[in-house]
């Protein structure tokens, strides 16, 4: 029994980060209707940046979080500004193929630069734990959960309370309307993609202390965020957060029941199931 409760607890902790990563994907989709196939690659890239800031300069991942977020923002801004903004009107398959191209370039650039081996950052607190009765919590996971939720809340407030956030939501709701009232939609788009990427950038730093990385981890990160977003409903903020928790718990429970290798089979099956049953997300009413 403890085993299952423990798995659920671990799932919730890691699920918070899934939520943050997926919010980035959901923001990009919600505003531009672009599916960022390079999402996992951007996450891995941010992890490498954070890793090298830590090993070469001794900067703690929780400190370099902001550097990584800014770097990812610039990358995302550039992708939208120079690539996606040029193909806003082509069929969505072609847009996905473009993003697949971006993903291939990013993943293999990482591979060429740093090789295929897994790397892990050994921070002082990487292995420290807190006991909660019979349950044990890894400190880095706990911190990651709190930070991820805090950043998500920050983003939420930004979108709701600031003028720039309001323009982003306006452009997402009604592109033509936004153009009509004189908003520079293309710049808003680039900014939104940057913001979505910044979520992944921050998440990369946050998960570094407890998760080893390799260029090949990217695809599973991308797919996990797809599962979360599709489960939570594209563009729904709260839904995506809860979706993240749900997927985190499901994966960790799955790992207890199944062998860890078949855990991924379980994830893909979950993705198919979610796409088939609730393409509009669990928090939306049944429509269409």
């Amino acid at each position: 029994m403890t085993l299952y409760v423990q798995a659920i607890l671990n799932g919730i902790l890691v699920g918070g980060v899934y939520g943050l990563v997926a919010i980035g994907l959901s923001l990009i989709f919600g505003v531009m209707k672009i599916i960022n196939f390079a999402h996992g690659e951007m996450l891995v890239l941010a992890m490498y940046l954070s890793f090298f800031l830590f090993t070469l300069l001794g900067i703690d991942p929780y400190m370099s979080l902001f550097v990584c977020a800014v770097a990812a923002f610039i990358l995302g801004y550039g992708v939208q500004r120079f690539l996606v903004n040029r193909i806003l009107h082509v069929p969505e398959e072609m847009q996905v193929l473009l993003m697949l191209g971006v993903a291939l370039v990013l993943q293999n650039a990482t591979l060429v630069a740093w090789g295929p081996n897994f790397r892990a950052a050994q921070t002082r607190y990487s292995l420290s734990t807190v006991w909660l009765g019979p349950l044990v919590m890894d400190v880095p996971r706990l911190v990651a959960f709190v930070l991820a939720l805090a950043l998500a809340l920050l983003l939420y407030l930004f979108l709701r309370r600031t003028e720039l956030g309001t323009t982003i939501r306006a452009a997402a709701d009604n592109r033509d309307g936004a153009v009509l009232i004189g908003l520079d939609v293309r710049r808003i788009y680039a900014f939104s993609f940057g913001l979505g990427a910044a979520c992944v950038g921050a998440a990369g730093s946050i998960i570094l202390p407890f998760l080893p990385m390799s260029p090949y981890s990217a695809l599973s990160f991308t797919l996990t965020s797809f599962i979360v977003v599709i489960l939570g409903g594209m563009g729904s903020f709260l839904g995506v957060l809860v979706g993240g928790l749900f997927v985190g718990v499901a994966e960790n429970l799955g790992a207890v029941v199944l062998t860890s290798s078949s855990k991924y089979i379980f994830s893909y099956a979950l993705l198919i199931l979610v796409m088939v049953l609730r393409p509009q997300g669990i928090f939306r009413g049944r429509s269409g």
Partner: protein
């Protein structure tokens, strides 16, 4: 046929194709072994690209999971040959039937629940990855060790040859067959329906096209022929591994040729393969010598980006215009 229009093209087209075919038939006589094997790969990817084109090009359902069909073909024919002694020629067909059935299942699940566009890309990818992982864990099929096909002496019955000349002709024959199939499809009612579905699915349904049945037919045909390539693969390389024949990278490899050449055109996959395959082989050979694995995939990525930005309909239509000799406009 969209690619070749105009009267002069109608006369020039067949002559060009016939001439090229004659040149290719004689090619092993004047080309060395290296170029022959390069051409085998060109045919192989042109073939798989044409299979993909039936579903992804004509019907407009872009799949990122064709490795699943190819892998099933490879594993079925190899397992039947190794464990039951069945000739790969029949094993090939068995793999094709299995793949077609799988294609029908994937297609039914997707189309029944209106999964289209980007979501179809995702769901095909997810299905293919499941088969990839399953094969990695199935010890009876070699698991993560892969399967070595035993060489039991050169014979046509076993599709095992010394040297690569015979493989060359098998690959060329496969390419000719699939091109004829695609050409027949292009001129059939089904082909027209598929193009209508690609252009506007809801409208074609409103006009009475049974879109479900048409898309399923395209999926099954595409999957069946893709699996044949898998059987060829295992008999040519004598080794199959889940990371080779069931990987996403292969699915990208398969869709890249028709996208670059021109999806939904008869010669798109062939043109794409003649451009891309030698390029990929050269860069793979050059960069892996330098220890830079993955460089050819960077090139693939850049190509995908460039094609979507600058040639969204592929390069074949431009070539067709050259062939047609249209200098006006």
């Amino acid at each position: 046929m969209r690619a070749f229009t105009g009267e002069r093209a109608a006369r020039r087209g067949p002559m060009l194709v016939g001439g090229a075919l004659l040149l290719l038939l004689a090619a092993p006589l004047y080309l060395g072994s290296y170029w022959t094997s390069t051409l085998i790969l060109v045919f192989f990817y042109a073939y798989t690209g044409q299979c993909w084109n039936i579903l992804g090009g004509y019907a407009g359902q872009v799949s990122l999971g064709h490795a699943a069909f190819l892998g099933i073909g490879a594993y079925t024919s190899t397992a039947l040959f190794m464990f039951a002694g069945l000739t790969p020629w029949l094993g090939m067909l068995a793999g094709g039937v299995l793949a077609a059935l799988l294609g029908l299942c994937i297609g039914f699940v997707s189309f029944r629940f209106h999964i289209r566009g980007a979501y179809f890309i995702l769901i095909t990818l997810a299905f293919a990855e499941i088969f990839h992982l399953l094969a990695l864990h199935l010890e009876s099929l070699g698991g993560a060790q892969g399967l070595f096909v035993p060489f039991t002496g050169a014979s046509w019955a076993k599709m095992q040859f010394k040297g690569n000349t015979n493989y060359y002709y098998v690959a060329l024959a496969l390419l000719v067959v699939i091109t004829l199939v695609a050409r027949a499809l292009e001129r059939s009612k089904l082909g027209l329906y598929l193009v209508a579905i690609r252009e506007d699915e809801d409208a074609s349904r409103a006009l009475g096209v049974n879109t479900m049945r048409c898309k399923l037919a395209a999926t099954a045909i595409s999957a069946f022929f893709t699996a044949l390539a898998g059987a060829f693969y295992s008999n040519y390389f004598f080794y199959i591994h889940p990371d080779e024949v069931l990987d996403v990278e292969l699915s990208v490899d398969i869709l890249l040729r028709p996208i670059v050449g021109g999806a939904g055109t008869l010669f798109g996959p062939i043109v794409g393969s003649f451009i891309l395959t030698p390029l990929a082989e050269l860069s793979r050979a050059y960069f892996s010598k330098e220890g830079l694995i993955g460089t050819h995939l960077i090139i693939y990525g850049l190509l995908l980006i460039a094609v979507v930005l600058f040639f969204p309909r592929g390069v074949a239509p431009y070539l067709a215009r050259l062939v047609a000799g249209k200098r006006t406009s």
